[in-house]
Amino acid sequence: MGRCAVKPRQGRPSRRNLLAGVAGSAAAIGGAVAIAQTRQATPANTEPTSAGGIVPATGATQAGIDRPATPQLFGLVMIYDLAAPDDLAFLATLGRDIATLVEDPPADLLPDGAVGLTVTVGLGPRMVSHRRPDLPGAESLPPFAGDETIAPDARGGDLLVMACAEDPTVLAPVVDRLLAAVPGVRVRWGQRCFRGAPPSGSGTIIRNPLGFHDNVQIPHTDEELAANVWLEAPLAGGTLCVVRRLRVDLDGFRGLPTSRREEVIGRRLDGTPLSGGLPFDPVDITAKAANGELLIPAHAHVRAAHPSFTASHLMLRRGYAYDNGDGDSGLMFICFQRDLRTYVLTQQRLDSLDELMTYVSPTGSASFLILPGHHDDRPLGAELL
């Protein structure tokens, strides 16, 4: 309930939404105030992401999740199988190697410096459950709608290595060098990906391949990240990551009239919720016209994905676009949250309700325990040894 809000009537987006001003207004006080605080709060990480910048690799959490605050333009997501699920000794070495690469970039690999490089490491359910079946991350994703069409090699995996930087040319060499030291490793699947620059110059909000803004409602502050993203002891500073490669029928979606595309998403092209307000304001899922019609349509993506319907945590989405040619392009959906339930219930709801899903086909799917951060006194993976 606290979402009560009284937007002034003249603020209504259209003549017909009398009720919205009131019902809809519900969002305003709670919602608007909350978001205002979010925007004014100091981001948890303010490290620069400009080319040449160093994003600290060590700390309580791994880099590449909430830092840099503006995600890098390029990514390489690599997923591997490991020969021996009981051998995690390589992790400590891998962590040290990552830190060394970032802090003291070797000229042969990173001639222009660190270029915002982050390398994030996660373990698949088989690895976690082998060691500690009681821990978060030991559980696999259930199948979702369309998952039966995913090639077996593009499901799951034991080891996630996600490298991101402002320069796409460094990513594969960096990952190759890091993985050379990991024994018994075999590539399972992977994807190069990219994202546009934020329209505002910094921050998480970008346009995705659908042409709409993405990552609008995500946790930012330390409090929000603690409540929604980071695990607690014994994995404090870790999190759970879901990776879904989603081929999107972009021609089909773009073929819709603009107003229909906005109805499918629930926001206008400029980011304004169909419930009214300013670009990037929170959507007001309760807003109605006087005749009872929802201003955010019943099958709109932002309604289907809204965490209130499942009492879910707020996902930290940090996705990319991909394009493999021959029409195989779409979204590399990447999210972080403190429980798998948040993703599972939300995706099941999307499968039931979200009109956008009619344009989406999954072609890859996996979940990982993102290990807590590492530093000199706490090697990567120490919590599982």
Partner: protein
Amino acid sequence: MARRNRETPWAAVVIPVVTALLVVIVASACAPDTRTGQSLVRVPQDAPSISRALELVAQHGLVLVDPGIYPEAVTVTVPDVTIRGTDRNGVVIDGEGLRQSGIVVTAPGVTVENLTVRNHNFYGVLVTGMPGGGGGHDVPYSKPAPDMPLLQRFRVDHVTAINNGLYGIYSFHAQHGVIEDSYASGSADSGIYVGQCRDCDIVVRGNLAERNAVGFENANASDSVYVVGNRWSGNRVGMTLISSYQEDLRPQRANLVVGNLITDNTSAESPVQADGGFGIGIGISGGQDNQVERNRITGNRLVGILLNNAEDLPATGNSLLGNSFDGNGVDVADTSQARAAGSRNCVDPAAGLDVRPAGMAARACPTSASPAAGIDRADLPALPVPPGVDFLQVPEPPTQPDSTNARSTEPTGVLPATVGSPDVAAIPVPSKDLLAQWAGVR
């Protein structure tokens, strides 16, 4: 790619928004027992407005209101008072399409009776233990159950609540109450709503709700909720029992719904149900262990009773026995998804009854669970949904009957600590014309 199976349209019924009230309610420190005041305050003779009268009245006192249009938002913070109109149809609290609520009760033991509340953008009458909000659907974060105590004891009697945007008569986070012999129409959510309580001890009896998106709605109100002898006819959806993650105290369970007339919920003279619900008698979304018995359920052109999961909360253990069905699109259907399939639901078999899947038909509900996914929703009849009517434009009802207390200058007195169950066993299937003389839709 084909569009995937959609959840039933009423499943995500939009939830109340109590907090609007924070604008109105300044958490007035409730008057203590030592409050002094008048035992009877007449409006307009002793006070020009109901709000002013509430400043003058003593605890346990009576505010007695003469006919007139009262353009005010009334907040009741005095325990155990009665607000009574002398003429139900002539005493009108009018929101004029501008104000949010007519009467908001935040004090225990309050009676509201024999008056009309109309033209509010949110609620006609709201009784709440959570003024100022703080409940579970305060998105985007999930929240623990509130530790605020439930409001205790209330009575809404012979109230006409019309053309109120969200709910006509609405109790939330409250228990030990009665809503009876009242009328509600023109709500874009539901005419009457009871939400978020356990051991609710709430009786909803003898009411008439029509020309609403939903006649009566219960979200997360469990255990002792008795819905008896009401007319939930001529809405888009007659009534719903739903579990909702947007509020606390889920799942919804263990209501008694007996002796109600639930017919012809195919009204075009109403706002739309937000998710497109139309032609549905009773919707049970994630509701559990409810007894829905001896109701007359007819002419609901999509389905008489519709069971469905609410996200991962299954509809289980609902006893649908002794009801009289006729002229529904399908009499009883379970469209639960496999991920939260229903179990232990039952309908007693009768000649000609259309139950899908047919396995639900049994003379008693099975005691052990064997979850089975429901039918595909696409297998229900395809009904065109008429456009919605502006909630302020929904037709007014015929003149409604006065309470026998209408002229009394005696306050109601202290409401009992508990209400208790009506004699449910004595309630038969109602006649086809239950409360018809007061209905605008017949």
